[in-house]
Subunit: 420 residues, 2 copies
Amino acid sequence: LHERKGTGREDQPRASPGRTGLAVAHQWIDRQIEPLAAESASPIDAVGRVLAEPVVAPSDLPPVDQATADGAAVRAEDTVGASTYNPVGLRLLPFGEAVLPFCATFVNIGQPLPRGADAIVPLDHVSAKGADGCEVIDTVAAGDHVARKGSQIESGSSLLPAGRWLGPHDAGLLLMAGIARVPARRRSRVRVVLTGPRVESTGAGTAQDADGPMLKRLIERDCGTVVEQRHVERDRAALTVALSAPRSDIVLIVGGTGRGLGDCASAALADAGELAIEGVAINPGETAGMGRTGVGTPVILLPGVPSACFWAYELLAGRAIRRLAGASPALPYASKEMRTHRKIVSRIGLTEVCPVRCIDVDGVEPVPSFAAVGIIAMAQADGFVILPEGSEGVSEGSTVTVHLMGICGTHRPHTSEVAS
Amino acid sequence: LHERKGTGREDQPRASPGRTGLAVAHQWIDRQIEPLAAESASPIDAVGRVLAEPVVAPSDLPPVDQATADGAAVRAEDTVGASTYNPVGLRLLPFGEAVLPFCATFVNIGQPLPRGADAIVPLDHVSAKGADGCEVIDTVAAGDHVARKGSQIESGSSLLPAGRWLGPHDAGLLLMAGIARVPARRRSRVRVVLTGPRVESTGAGTAQDADGPMLKRLIERDCGTVVEQRHVERDRAALTVALSAPRSDIVLIVGGTGRGLGDCASAALADAGELAIEGVAINPGETAGMGRTGVGTPVILLPGVPSACFWAYELLAGRAIRRLAGASPALPYASKEMRTHRKIVSRIGLTEVCPVRCIDVDGVEPVPSFAAVGIIAMAQADGFVILPEGSEGVSEGSTVTVHLMGICGTHRPHTSEVAS
């Protein structure tokens, strides 16, 4: 009954093959998958994508000497000795005009420093006096409230490094620097094939209903686009045909990865190309697999049970898709060292994802596992502790690395609050 | 020259009014802004939005007793004493049939437990024997590898709480539970008015080029939609007219918030409705303001300088837009206690955002400030320390709360890596 990889028959159940360790599975992914080509994109279209090459400043920033405060542009030497008790009177020239000795002109923040001036007296220390005069009540030094040409960044120096995942502020920076196009990795094209249910649904919803939409959002998060999502009967020949469809950057097959009756994802992948790994030592998700189609497109096999589908995506498919994007393949969660207030149990031989709840600012406790409650564990957890293959668990009081979920808005103890 | 709020003349520069503390500005926002109404949305459309009401399970999950492993459904009592050395033979019934004494039938994970059976022997411990027999090599107890009806969640119990910011896994959970529509807060409708430049551009890019795209992405992150983005001349009457445009949930005016020549955002807001706060004690961003249009729509005034625009958005406008979304108004960054390896300087009287770089797993050091390098500080920082109004800074070796940026993919020291 223990059959060799890729030759399994789906008309009878089979025993589990040996599971491949997570590190080996990651090595396979990292060897197979290179970042996609760069394309020229506007800074706003590039937000959420990764720079393929460093971006260099095309010119000095600021491009000329600039005021960094609203105020009066002056010659610093003319203000020597000025104070509240000794206001210094200067002649007020029209807005922005060149500054002569014992004269001043008002400028706004960001404007070029008028010719002749070498400092700005901020508005709080200067007041208009009559029709064409002003009074300065503070002494300034040359360069005060002035940003020199090129002082923020010099022409030709690095603005953003290759590999930078661009945020909204980076778009602002690029546009401010006058850069209209950047070399960004293109979005990956992902095909998702959902294998049909093995039996009629017994409840209101099914794994097939849940997995497709869930994966779509995860793929988008990882700079991918779902170019096709289709349902295919859980049939070896039909699945083999689906694997020969037009090219994409990666294919995800969902469901039929087990060794039960009718499970044929592994066999279909072996028929269509190469089944490289069948079963990965992760929980949830241990029936996951991977390989390539006949034309070399990477394929990740994801279990159909939603919690297993989610974690096999995060630990395997997501890594592959993040690599295509040129992004860090690491899990896209913030992590934090915290103390567990209760023992966390893990099965030896599997990398195990253990859901935990935050109970105070640096303490967590386990919540019911995926094995016990399925995907509901996701609703009850604030984050996850991932225990390696060699671990049988950690004892109460241990320090663990918690991967935190949902930093973008729930009332969670780990979101930022500004003291004021 | 110190004029009263809302009556400023933009034809001459003015001294700064007193700045409103950040806590008071937050109180104003929190009092003005209530979460938007809920609308019925599919779980997939609701991802990234907030639940307005708790979602209750419409039925038991699992809906019937289910297998949690691929294997043979048996009566546990028939396996007593089974081991590798004492295989127990059972008659194999067709797939999924009701189980009689000393019989078994194969089922797959997720399938209903066949009538008569009370446990599953996983595939690793059962093998087919001849045409209609099987051998069991492990003893199972009643309930082994079976999820009882309602054991994950009972009909009528809480599935997800009100206020939940929905992630991809929540869509999976809802669809799995058979829920097709949920009450989600609608996306806010945001109008962005960019005031024209005060002078001709001196470089390749301008603040006006940068602020609009940057804000669009930030607003989208906070569940908002930019329904209109327009450029308006920096003219008090034109801006007052723009403030009377058709309703949205909130209006952001960008630029012209200072007290320099031509700055008229505050005056226009006073003309159009109410200028409630002029100047907030934050840096960057201290010329920000807020108020309401004539019909009561909240208005946030953001400075035009990109770094000030960004932080006035994050600390003020973003809070308002996150409140409209029903989300936590806190900053959407993960935060972490870290040690600063160098002194961080802050001006007393202002809540100051200080950019820092991670130098090791729990250490940071300051990088050049926004005052020194403008928005380029965003490119050089891994995160921010926010020092309150009363602080003059923190000394070397102090523990500080660091708000971390860019967890979604750059090669940053604080992203998660799974040990394997």
